[in-house]
Symmetry: C4
Subunit: 285 residues, 4 copies
């Protein structure tokens, strides 16, 4: 981020060196730092998960406390270093990862003030989000961005579709409440029936609420068959976008022949397929 | 709707003004009207849902009654205004939204005549459909229409497929009735077994009816594996249509022929495919 | 079928007339015949289904018997007429619908000889398949054939995939038997565990067999996540085929320009998009 | 494998003859060998599965023991022959099928040393993997490789997606633990809640763990709706790859340039895109 303004001021070699280690993963030491950090983050998440198990919580409560504070102190130091080595700390602090880095340390400190065990837990969970930093590693990011882009392109269609699905579940749920409500204690209210409709339409099908009247089972069957066809819609939307994306990347470049001016050449084409003249070398990144 | 005949009669400025507010969302006041209306509709749906919950129904029955009548009166007034400000009220009344607008008010009035609590509820549910008016807002409609169009294009294929699935569930259900019927009270009749087959083939899988005999479980396994492959069909159908739709948008350019004025030319077309005259060089970004 | 040999012998007008009514749906009387037949078939299926319900079976056993024999006699007469009015009865009798038509009548007669109630039921179920005759009606057949063709084109890929899935369920099921077998009576044998694996991998998820040990739940979670990715394969295969099919139908015809010989013209193209000369009128069926 | 070095040494006719029978399926005897072997493998897998059933295990324990040893001896002999008839036995032994062939015989011998019944079972399961040898048969392999290739091409995208899904299930699971933990013994720990999140997001939906609080059910509903949209992502990724694969097969012709001999030309190409020389007119059927 801050590197863009490099030309305007003298770089601080200490900050640069730290930045290279903490933020980048190009050097050997930088890569080691990232891997170690990832292991610590994973370990801290596992500790939170294990602590939530009754029998372990009782037996190792002290160990968990020590580990938790150790992790918190490590992450706090790391957060401080990150703030120190960037040229515009405020920008980093407001960024997505900056906020998550902060939230990963706060809960343990807050647990000193608010002692209710319930609040403890709520706070701990947020720490899990620090696992997102994994994404910083590796060039997997690039492929991930293709997914994100495809989802962005189908954003509105998916939203419209989901609104439609939610409306449908409200109507179906209400109908089921009328059909089953009296005889079946599972369909005791419209909200519960709507919950059932969502469980059914998404084909999750827990079975905690199931119709018992013949009419209710008939409507359920219709809903499932309908859900079968409807399930195809988001898949179709997203598939179409991925194919669009793939086509751009794989099949052709945007280069026009210098002789006949025609386009649509394959990435591996060396000669124009329309007039036979030599093409420019396509620049591939 | 009525605006098409503008040239034939003098427009009524009062009606025009009201129409602008109630039907359109282009002006500031029109947008506020729509948003307020949406909030009221959502609130009324939530009230119906909450009322269906036993414990809330007992404690707040009076409040619910007041709210229900308030909402009904608001919607009745709104419906009257809508009828007033359009030039052809009958056309509006018969339109999709016109019927829903009416059905959103009727139930409460009908509850005065038919006092059976059961009938009350049946009627109330229809009011939920008023939430569909949300779709009138925003340009989300356009993307929604693409979905509708893709589904329309695959209408017949999906229907044939669903008929096939229903026939298959009848046969599978009957077979399971024969295999499980004697030993398993869950498969007590063919309709129940068909219900099971639908639950299984659509991968909902409640688990309220499950096979217990080895042979029944073997058939179930075959049905599931089959369902796995079959699930791909509607998705394939709809995906193909979405891609078709996308391709139309992307692969043809927006250029109109200078001679015949027709559009829909491929990016690599040099001559108009309708009149044979030469096209402009397509500008590709 | 037999009409192909028309030129070789004098057509029998009585047979021709009957054939028109029974086999074709082009004339008014032929259409009425088909619709009436469909209703009778549907009714007979519903009767079989209702008869399987304990309480109805006891109360209306006589009525069911009468209806069953009535339907059987109607279908027997219809089958005889079909055999009579085709020129090559043996060919019809061996055809798919010929066999189903026969199987639709046999069970009731067989029930006179074999009186075991169990055998009765097994036989009755086959009668349900007569509902397939519905497909004979309407031009829905054509779109249905596109589905069948797309599935045929992906036949081998789907088979390979399903074999792979079955092998995987055997391995996963065996692993789960080892992990859960001792502590969880649900995983009492490898076949049961394989059944569980199929229920899980296909995302049906009845919940009649569920892991209880932490290790079993971990493996289940891995299986589900894997199943998530695997579910995409058949859909991808079938989608690709549908798109292939669609492209052929919609975008281009096989016509080559008479002047420049180039192909790939749209169905609505009147002039060659490469040389500007007029195209032949494309023959569209 | 070894056949590549044929020119360097005198082939051993006995080895060649055995190799033809055991490794190839081109000759009649070779095909019979493969089919018999497949039947034996299937039988041995079925025996392992049946042995795991309590009641059969007790009644036929002796028979199972004999069958198991018979199969083991057959497979051992077969493994020895395979090692004998290839020119580079070590290469075969280290290959995928070589290792599986060995693992298919070892467990029974190991069961003589380690008598704990539990360990027996763990080992037996690996024998099931010998069923993979089926894949050696038939040209189904080719279509199978297209699937593998499509999956390979989408490898990174699928991995990124699955990491994202796993992270999401951890966060969702933790949230549910906070919402339901106190009131619902099913959500007794974060790992269990994460297990629930995976069961729900993948739409398996066992129903062994289900939310009971209104807030928990609301979050579940959101998770399901989200899962609905998310399910589209891997399908979209894989579909796009299959279409890519299909397009390569269909849209390019099989023609090789007469000058440079390279292939992969588009159907509308007139000049070789690699050397610029004129192509034959592509013959299109």
């Amino acid at each position: 981020m801050a590197t863009k303004k490099k030309s305007q001021f003298k770089p601080d070699p200490k900050k640069e060196w730290l930045h290279e280690i903490i933020f980048e993963a190009d050097t050997r030491i930088g890569r080691i730092f990232d891997i170690v950090l990832l292991i610590i983050i994973a370990a801290s998440v596992i500790v939170v998960a294990l602590e939530s198990m009754e029998n372990l919580h009782i037996r190792f409560s002290k160990l968990f406390l020590i580990l938790e504070w150790t992790f918190t102190i490590i992450f706090t130091l790391e957060y401080a270093l990150r703030l120190y080595c960037v040229y515009e700390p405020w920008k980093y602090a407001k960024s997505f990862f900056g906020i998550i880095d902060l939230l990963a340390t706060l809960p343990t400190y807050l647990s000193l003030v608010f002692t209710g065990s319930h609040y403890f837990l709520v706070i701990r969970v947020l720490r899990l989000m620090r696992i997102f930093r994994i994404f910083k590693l590796g060039h997997f990011m690039k492929e991930g961005f293709i997914i994100v882009e495809a989802l962005k392109a189908s954003r509105i269609k998916i939203t419209v579709f989901l609104i439609f699905v939610i409306l449908m579940t409200i109507i179906i749920g209400s109908l089921m409440y009328l059909l089953e409500g009296g005889q079946n204690p599972s369909f005791s209210s419209i909200p519960r029936s709507v919950y059932w409709a969502i469980v059914t339409l998404t084909t999750v099908g827990y079975g905690d609420i199931t119709p018992v009247t013949p009419l209710g089972q008939l409507l359920s069957a219709v809903v499932m068959i309908m859900g079968y066809a409807i399930l195809a819609v988001p898949t179709g939307i997203v598939s179409a976008e991925f194919i669009q994306k793939n086509k751009k990347v794989y099949s052709t470049n945007t280069q026009a022949c210098r002789f006949c001016g025609r386009e649509g050449h394959d990435n591996n084409a060396q000669y124009c397929k329309f007039c036979g003249n030599i093409l420019n070398e396509p620049e591939v990144d």
